[in-house]
């Protein structure tokens, strides 16, 4: 298979785009696509102060590399979740992130869950019913809260994450199977800033997981390749495997699924978040001050209250 642009030997074939590219043209193409999506969904501008949530995995490091290369003002943040499970998972992830930041001379902020909140994710998971039942749910809740608080304290304009198209399609499939209208209304690749909430954006929302991995390999970016021990049997991976089976037979299935969803979202198929600014200001968690609709402590503070 040959590169469509130069005729050299291709290193990747993107069947959903009917496009194969050599290494040189692929490394040009991906940042162009990301920039196109940032503009299309009005995610952020070159004047914005951007907080990149990095985990040490391929997606977040590839994203940080690309945003930096495009000329955006970025700072990284890594949350040390304290996950060891016999493979030093969090420690190795942190070292990978620190090494990337140092090699690229980029600012990185480290937040340690044990030091900041007194407990690691495995400890919370062991202690709480929700954690024992669905550890990824607790981890996601904690990360969203901690990132939001850090971005507010640091006056960042936007938080960006490395969620890729496969992530978005898997979440969409799960939410569709459950008919979770509330979650289906929030799947847009950029969520605007509101009182107590920093804007959030997903510049990789249309980049396949496979494409992101190819970018890190070709760029020789060192990333943590081991899976989080808590996510081995996660529903998200299960849905991704199913979507990949469909993708094998019908290339572009994942992309079409996601793009048609965005179209129906634009057409008002799912009710968007109804809280207005004043309601968000009125519904503050009495402990941390972040908005909540629980009528009391927010979900994050509830986790620590039941100790």
């Amino acid at each position: 298979m040959r590169c469509r642009k130069c005729g050299e030997k291709a290193v990747i074939n993107m069947r959903q785009h009917r496009l194969s590219l050599c290494a040189e043209h692929y490394l040009e193409w991906i940042p162009q696509q990301v920039q196109r999506h940032i503009e299309k969904y009005e995610m952020f501008s070159f004047d914005d102060k951007i907080l990149v949530a990095v985990s040490g995995g391929k997606d977040s490091l590839a994203l940080w590399n690309i945003l930096n290369g495009l000329g955006y003002k970025t700072e990284g943040v890594y949350i040390d979740l304290g996950i060891d499970e016999g493979i030093d998972y969090s420690r190795n992830s942190r070292l990978t992130v620190e090494s990337f930041a140092e090699n690229n001379q980029l600012p990185i902020h480290l937040i340690n869950m044990q030091k900041k909140h007194g407990e690691t994710i495995p400890e919370i998971n062991q202690r709480t019913h929700r954690g024992r039942r669905n550890p990824c749910s607790v981890c996601g809740l904690v990360k969203r809260h901690v990132l939001n608080q850090f971005s507010l304290d640091g006056s960042f304009d936007v938080i960006v994450t490395g969620h890729n198209l496969d992530d978005e399609a898997a979440i969409l499939l799960a939410n569709t199977l459950d008919w979770s209208l509330e979650f289906l209304s929030r799947g847009y690749p950029v969520l605007p800033a509101k009182p107590g909430f920093t804007r959030k954006a997903k510049p990789f929302c249309r980049i396949y997981e496979r494409e992101s991995a190819a970018y890190t390999i070709l760029r020789k970016i060192n990333f943590i390749n081991s899976e989080c021990p808590f996510s081995i049997d996660s529903k998200q991976i299960y849905y991704k495997e199913i979507l990949n089976q469909w993708e094998d037979d019908k290339p572009g299935t994942k992309l079409r699924f996601y793009l048609h969803y965005l179209k129906t979202l634009d057409q008002g198929a799912f009710p968007r978040g109804q809280e207005n600014d004043q309601e968000l200001i009125d519904q503050q968690c009495p402990n941390c001050g972040q908005p909540t609709n629980t009528g009391g402590l927010c979900a994050f503070c509830q986790i620590f209250e039941v100790k």
């Binding site: 496969d166 990949n244 094998d248």
Partner: protein
Amino acid sequence: MVSKQAALTLKGKSMPCRINIPIWKALKEQGLSRSAYLIIRNCTLVTDDEIINASDSIELIPVVSGG
């Protein structure tokens, strides 16, 4: 005599596969999704339509992650 088999390597585990077939077909024969892996042949990223030769060292890089 040259072996009529090659091998795919995934996370250090070797799986025998036929030669003279495209890599995507070998993946299918192993029950693996071509959308879920990148292919490294002789230390270089390649497309999965490449034909497998007897002397090839083919490594599969899983790309699916999540939680």
